[in-house]
Symmetry: C2
Subunit: 238 residues, 2 copies
Amino acid sequence: MNGMEEKSGEGKRYCYDYPRPSVTTDCVIFGFDGTRLRVLLVERGIEPFKGRWAFPGGFLQMEESAEEGALRELQEETGLRDAYIRQFHAFSDPGRDPRGRVLTIAYYALVKMQEVKGGDDAAKAEWFALDEVPSLAFDHDLMLRTALKELRRQIHFEPIGFELLNDKFTIKELQLLYEAILDVRFDRRNFYNKLRHLEILTPLDETVRNSPKREAFLFSFNKSKYDELKQKGFRLEF
Amino acid sequence: MNGMEEKSGEGKRYCYDYPRPSVTTDCVIFGFDGTRLRVLLVERGIEPFKGRWAFPGGFLQMEESAEEGALRELQEETGLRDAYIRQFHAFSDPGRDPRGRVLTIAYYALVKMQEVKGGDDAAKAEWFALDEVPSLAFDHDLMLRTALKELRRQIHFEPIGFELLNDKFTIKELQLLYEAILDVRFDRRNFYNKLRHLEILTPLDETVRNSPKREAFLFSFNKSKYDELKQKGFRLEF
DNA sequence: TCAAAAGTGTTCGCTATACACCCATGG
DNA sequence: CCATGGGTGTATAGCGAACACTTTTGA
């Protein structure tokens, strides 16, 4: 190896023996509106792709890891400090950015939409339902497809869906969430029975009336119970 | 964004407005020796970590994608041109390389050990069984754990195990492979019945004698049949 | 009193598991 | 003829899919 970082004189420039790509972290932020899965997009204010929508992102700082960079981006955009994030792919095609060689380490985040405040960034940000996402800047269309594929994969192994719901939720809401993520339909009664008899949901003595009809019990996710079951080889399947 | 690549005078140096990390691709190459899963390691000839073992890897060229870089590394090391590879993680901790900021996009490869020839590289390379891998250079211990986790995850979704076997194999060999990867034991007869009645294996009119006792039928993986079943929602589970 | 949504229980069929049994071969 | 490994069939338990039924509430 070679090419230690080195400042050379003229105007704060960083010089190396071999060319290096720029590195950014982008963040596909997923939320759930009660019925549909949504992603947070920002409208680009500058060229290239000015006026087009893209996932929030920015350059990796030299003293931070990619994960720290993604968390920083997430916080700037949503105000959230401790959401679930997961690295899912590094995009490295030489032609993916018209300005030159830019490599992007992409994360997806799962957030509770209700907790998201407008970010620090002045940039216009908006939640888009999955089937309403316009054609995106750079290779972000591919990025979205890849993120979604990885989210669906991951949700077979870990109960990360709860990251998208409030702490208290009804089983119906949980069903709608899983249906939205996996794009399937479940039998309402089978889903209810299955989840109710699993021991990973703590029944609360509270109810809500989401519909104008009968009120529904609230539950919370029992993470410690889940971890305990997981230790014994249990796996939550859908 | 900013910092287009730019050559400035003095001795072929590449200068940018902001610092950039070096980027490498490393390749965790898995093989199967008939009983155990193995990884191909190379002994480092230079500092840092001189004399320690590490996964093969090298700098990303400016005109290639990370995947192309990983395939190039794989070919230099094994002579193989078209093995299965999959990107599984980008390692980006600022302190992971003592020489400076180095970011690594890591792939794992599944190869048929029999087809591997000594690589172009003069570097000493050797296959290590998983439980005999020594303490590795850089953060490659973590890299191995992560690769193995991703391999186990992926094998639940795709029948990639066949990449590690010869084109013709016995069901016993397939069982040993899955037992080695997932670190579980299956009932010999149930495994045989399950795979035999699935339609993804083509029975050949050939036998081999792996043990000194009875000879066993050979099978080949029927990928097109698998793809067809997959289309209908079928999933190979273990 | 009817429609809609929440909650409960039952039936049926498939499949994973356990395991008995037979076949082929070398010593 | 016995030990070892390959190949085949069967019984059982458990679970998921389908679905009947009850309860609660607003209109």
